[in-house]
């Protein structure tokens, strides 16, 4: 079949459209800055320089990116099964609990033993926390959006209780556990890179970043190249056809939620084993929720999720510089920009599409004539 004049090239939708949407979001953010008597140019400069200006800032950006990749993949996997997992925050929190418990119990053992245990615990605890809403959805029809939100609150309450009353380091007032033995800490990027002769300043970037990229690759294989992924997608796209094909939707729902929770739980590896080295209150810091935006922007594809996670990581890091550099703006400006990015890339995704496609259609038609 030959391409008709209404077909725009694929890259217009895949690359150009997101870029145009981003530009629109930043342009509007610039107007907000202007209204506050600040220069939009300076705002963009501070943001960009804050995120990528030095190797140190790059390290911070990638550290945030790591957590966002895990959280975004979690949302994406559930989404392929037609589920909206809002509970990434709670699952990350409980995943971190698993990491903490393993480290508190075994941090005298060698790193090579503790690391797999911690990874399993992060995924296992996160998966268990998502399994319950999954089971309720599959067997009882309780909507997973509602139950996962509830489970976020339960996770927060549980962690507060544990950290205040049970796991707290004796003789201190702040609700934290003791620090884990240094031997089990995840290697930091600057340690490695300096060791092989690349000067890298200190930043929280650690081995988890590699795990995140590996997780993205595994999710890609799982979703598109295994029969489990096939069955999961079938349920997500057409449950009746799945039943016809002998697939049990309730089983797929439970499995998808467990995998989703396991991925969210890995946020705990980055935060607890990589950076804080102890359990503390509120360490997921909203990353689980940002994962939703990341997955939406990344169109639930692992590559898209990684790119979107990088964008949000950069906004997070660059945004923290704004309040230092610009008198009339504070950190909340970043929330405004994030909101605009989500608005343009998520809710208004197709705002510019018809016009952009028409533009390229005309060019193509002209070229064909």
């Amino acid at each position: 079949m030959t391409a008709g004049p209404t077909e725009a090239p694929r890259w217009v939708g895949l690359v150009l459209l997101p870029v145009v949407n981003l530009v629109a979001a930043f342009a509007l953010a610039g107007l907000v800055a202007l209204a506050l008597n600040e220069s939009p140019i300076q705002l963009m400069h501070v943001l960009f320089f804050g995120a990528f200006g030095t190797l140190e800032s790059v390290g911070f950006t990638l550290y945030y990116t790591t957590s966002f990749i895990f959280a975004g993949l979690a949302v994406a996997v559930a989404f392929h099964c037609g589920l909206f997992n809002i509970g990434g925050e709670g699952q990350a929190y409980i995943g971190g609990l698993g990491v903490g418990l393993v480290c508190l119990a075994f941090d005298t053992l060698p790193f090579i033993v503790v690391l797999p245990l911690a990874l399993l615990a992060a995924m296992g605890f996160g998966a268990a926390w998502a399994y319950v809403p999954g089971w309720l959805q599959a067997k009882r029809g309780s909507h997973v959006v509602i139950t996962t939100i509830m489970f976020n609150f339960i996770a927060a309450a549980l962690m507060t209780y544990l950290l205040v009353d049970v796991l707290i380091k004796p003789g201190q007032s702040s609700p934290e556990t003791r620090e884990f033995a240094q031997g089990v800490w995840l290697p930091l990027a600057h340690d490695w890179l300096t060791a092989i002769g690349i000067p890298m300043p200190r930043s929280p970037l650690n081995l988890s970043f590699v795990f995140a990229l590996a997780a993205a690759a595994l999710v890609w294989v799982f979703i598109w190249h295994t029969r489990w992924g096939y069955e999961l997608r079938a349920v997500g796209l057409n449950e009746e056809a799945a039943v016809y094909a002998g697939i049990s939707p309730s089983r797929q729902i439970i499995v998808a939620m467990a995998i989703s929770g396991g991925l969210a739980g890995l946020v705990g590896i980055n935060e607890i084993l990589g950076v804080h080295h102890r359990l503390l209150l509120g360490f997921p810091a909203g990353y689980g929720f940002i994962g939703i935006a990341v997955a939406l922007m990344g169109r639930n594809h692992p590559v898209g999720v990684c790119l979107a996670a990088l964008l949000f990581g950069a906004l997070f890091q660059g945004g923290s510089e704004i309040s230092f550099e610009m008198r009339n703006l504070n950190r909340e400006m970043v929330v405004v920009i994030e909101g605009l990015v989500i608005l343009f890339c998520g809710a208004l995704e197709n705002l510019f599409r018809p016009r952009l496609e028409a533009l390229f259609r005309r060019r193509r038609a002209a070229a064909a004539a």
């Binding site: 008709g4 209404t6 190249h225 295994t226 029969r227 079938a234 796209l237 056809a241 016809y244 002998g246």
Partner: protein
């Protein structure tokens, strides 16, 4: 009679101006040229048929007339004046009414509420409803379209739901009525009634456009007929001067055999025995009532009945998709209703029981999957397709390409999205997938619903071939023609029960129609 001078459209040159005229309509959907330079004149006071294979562009054309799509080029003229129809409201204002193949009704509203929907007339419902009630009873009298205005639409039989759709169009003052495959859900008697109404309508000087694939209906009721193929108009002819064979040839572009050739069946032993089967649906309604029958190797058993009389549930229960509440389904001497080992649908497939479901969009395939993914649905466990944990994309594509080749699927591109194939080609993918494993029993529901003539011929031939190889086929179809053409034995279902069994050779359409309507039990 309101029509004062009935135009003599049935005898050659239509008078000026035409009720509806389309000039040079062009429409592209992505790479698909759905309408290419389509020009069409529909004379006032005539019944005009538009026929063509699936994907020939007739539905697109009518969607343009009704304002669902804007044409890329071309002009729509109504009563001689060019009109811009951007949305359905414009079409309604221009006096066009449409009865869709899939009804656009709100099930939980009453007939009256459905009829005023979109034309409520003011913020408060009361006045509009009272006016509508009066108007409705006038229309019902005038056109013999009796419906209880206070009945819930969801509780009406499909035939009456269609009547509500027609009343909706009439209530909005339609002068031109477009009907899309209107008889698909009707018994022969109901279809006759519909045709009487349409004729009455025409005789009052209004205009009917009938989109259909049933050549018999075109011959029976239309004055003129436009044949479309691949987005273009092949020709517009007077119905009186053409024949079914000629129309079929124009539609397909080659000669087609309308009647399948088949030798007498040589049935062997029972492959499937259904004994006292009861199926109760999720809402507690008893859908299948005490059904008992057998299907033997080497025969096609057809289940006739108006849509919604339990055939779908019967088929679903045998396929393992619905748990029967009582009775036995014995296949190869094993009771399928006993769900003790594993997912019943998966087990049935392993036991060489294949199922082509009634609704390929809802069940037979995942339309947003690529064709190769849809082509392995239900067989994703096959050793041939898996390399360890990896489901081999290459192997799936190879299988799909092979099926597309064997079943003449066009375009033969496994990577194309399933939704982008025409209905007939989607059906061939599903049929190919299910027949590929050489099943002993094939359950097949509506094998040619929404499928074009060329493909119908192909599919029917495949089913006969399978029967002649000694396989058993249970066929459910609401198309009586199809049952008569394929089946060796015919069971008639009405209200969940099997009300009769007829030898296909001795079957007569009127008799079957009466049984389908529950009016007569077979001797």
């Amino acid at each position: 009679m309101t029509g004062n001078d009935r135009p003599d459209s049935r005898r050659g040159a239509p008078p000026e101006p035409a009720a509806l005229e389309l000039i040079g309509i062009e429409k592209w959907f992505g790479p698909v040229h759905a309408n290419s330079g389509v020009s069409l004149r529909v004379a006032r006071g005539s019944i005009h048929g538009v026929i063509g294979e699936n994907g020939a562009g007739k539905s697109t054309l009518m969607s343009i007339v009704y304002g669902y799509h804007r044409p890329d080029a071309g002009e729509v003229r109504i009563a001689g004046r060019a009109v811009a129809i951007g949305r359905p409201a414009d079409a309604i204002a221009a006096g066009i009414g449409m009865v869709h193949q899939h009804f656009m009704l709100v099930d939980t509203f009453t007939v009256l509420e459905n009829i005023v929907l979109g034309a409520e007339g003011g913020a408060l419902l009361r006045g509009g409803l009272a006016q509508a009630r009066a108007e409705l009873s006038r229309l019902a009298r005038e056109y013999q379209l009796d419906v209880d205005p206070d009945a819930l639409v969801g509780e009406l039989p499909v035939g009456l739901q269609q009547r509500v759709e027609i009343l909706k169009a009439l209530y909005r003052g339609a002068q031109i009525l477009i009907l899309d495959e209107p008889t698909a859900v009707l018994t022969p008697q109901e279809a006759d009634h519909l045709f009487r109404i349409l004729r009455l309508w025409r005789d009052q000087g209004r205009t009917v456009i009938l989109i259909t694939h049933k050549l018999r209906e075109v011959m029976a009721i239309t004055d003129r007929v436009t044949v479309m193929r691949r987005g273009e108009v092949v020709d517009t002819v007077d119905t009186a001067s053409t024949s079914r064979e000629q129309l079929a040839e124009m539609m397909v572009g080659r000669r087609v055999i309308l009647r399948v050739q088949k030798a007498p069946a040589k049935p062997g032993k029972d492959v499937l025995r259904v004994e006292h089967l009861d199926v109760v649906d999720g809402r507690g309604v008893r859908r299948v009532k005490d059904a008992s029958f057998a299907v033997r190797a080497g025969e096609i058993v057809g289940i006739a009945g108006v849509s919604g009389n339990g055939q779908s549930e019967l088929l679903a229960a045998i396929a393992g998709l619905l748990q029967p509440s009582a009775g036995r389904i014995v296949y190869h001497d094993r009771d399928l209703a006993d769900a003790s080992d594993g997912e019943p649908a998966r087990r049935a497939r392993r036991m060489k029981l294949a199922h082509v479901p009634e609704d390929r969009h809802r069940m037979g395939m995942v339309v947003s999957f690529s064709a190769y993914d849809s082509a392995i649905l239900g067989y994703q466990d096959d050793a041939e397709l898996n390399r360890g944990v990896i489901l081999s994309r290459g192997a799936a594509i190879d299988r799909c390409a092979r099926l597309m080749d064997a079943y003449d699927v066009r375009p033969g591109r496994p990577l194309l999205k399933s939704a982008n194939f025409s209905g007939g080609n989607q059906q061939k993918i599903v049929l190919g997938r299910e027949l590929d494993r050489d099943p002993d029993l094939l359950l097949v529901g509506q094998p040619t619903r929404g499928v074009d003539i060329g493909a119908i011929e192909f599919i029917h031939r495949r089913l006969i071939e399978m029967r002649d190889r000694g396989k058993a086929i249970l066929l459910v179809s609401v198309e009586l023609d199809e049952i008569l053409a394929l089946a060796d034995r015919i069971l008639v279902m009405f209200d969940g029960a099997i009300v009769g069994e007829i030898d296909a050779a001795a079957a007569d359409e009127r008799e079957l129609g009466l049984m389908m309507a529950g009016a007569r039990e077979a001797a």
